[in-house]
Assembly symmetry: C2
Homo-oligomer: 150 residues x 2
């Protein structure tokens, strides 16, 4: 099993020489809050897992493993391990709230995963932050973007 | 199965009345970069999974599910679903680098999980950021702390 359709370290080796000694570890970690969601959907295990898989497909990620845990009386936690890192989703149906993260390396498009989830859980609004992480360029390993609300 | 030793929403209901309408969704999400790690450890599936479980125990979290994926030729991804959300670890042994997140609600102590991982992977240094997330207080759902390096 490799990371990405081409493993990230092979992707790095095949690309043009760069001053970045470890481009393969670079990734984007999106933390997203979904607010005012459809409470029924947030408690529907089958629908939520299906949504996460569709989000992964939309982002161009390849799922390699999953873990799912329903809670009593409400809610669910689910994680997909993808070749490019992971997607997670935790739901609180009683509050109409869900917390997701999309952590990808390589050429994935986490914004597409976000669009699938936003529509799928029927969120009235969302908040998100994108964190760039991984080695490269001699700078810090974590770079934090501005929170976005909408 | 519940979230936390007491489910978070029961914890909220049992505590003193508060102006916070949804304290149960509040959590801390730690994103941690481990740099200059012991490369042998980062490729040792058994040791890494054991480390994650010890980290969860140290933090006071209860593991309810796990997903693990080794990569070829190097590295591993692992996620523990805990009653309080999730812990994840992705390793790049060839770069001496590992990326972790500790997302907990309730009374967990993610700083203890970080201490276990920091020592366990033999990191020369780490970078981390703590993001407070969840509903409460009428403010934004995401609050981003200052990155810490050490």
């Amino acid at each position: 099993m490799t990371r990405g359709r081409l493993p990230c370290y092979f992707r790095a080796a095949m690309s043009e020489p760069s001053s970045d000694p470890n481009p393969s570890t670079r990734g984007q970690h999106w933390l997203v809050e979904y607010l005012g969601c459809d409470r029924k959907v947030l408690d529907d295990r089958q629908e939520l897992v299906s949504l996460l898989w569709r989000a992964a497909e939309a982002a161009g990620a390849k799922v390699v493993a999953e873990a799912i845990q329903p809670f009593s009386p409400h809610g669910m936690s689910a994680v997909l391990l993808i070749e490019e890192s992971h997607f997670s989703l935790h739901t609180w149906p009683e509050a109409g709230y869900a917390a997701a993260d999309f952590y990808t390396c390589g050429d994935c498009q986490p914004e597409r995963a976000h669009a699938v989830l936003l529509a799928g859980v029927g969120a009235a609004r969302s908040e998100l932050i994108v964190i760039e992480r991984g080695l490269g360029g001699g700078g810090p390993s974590l770079a934090v973007g501005e929170p976005r609300r909408g």
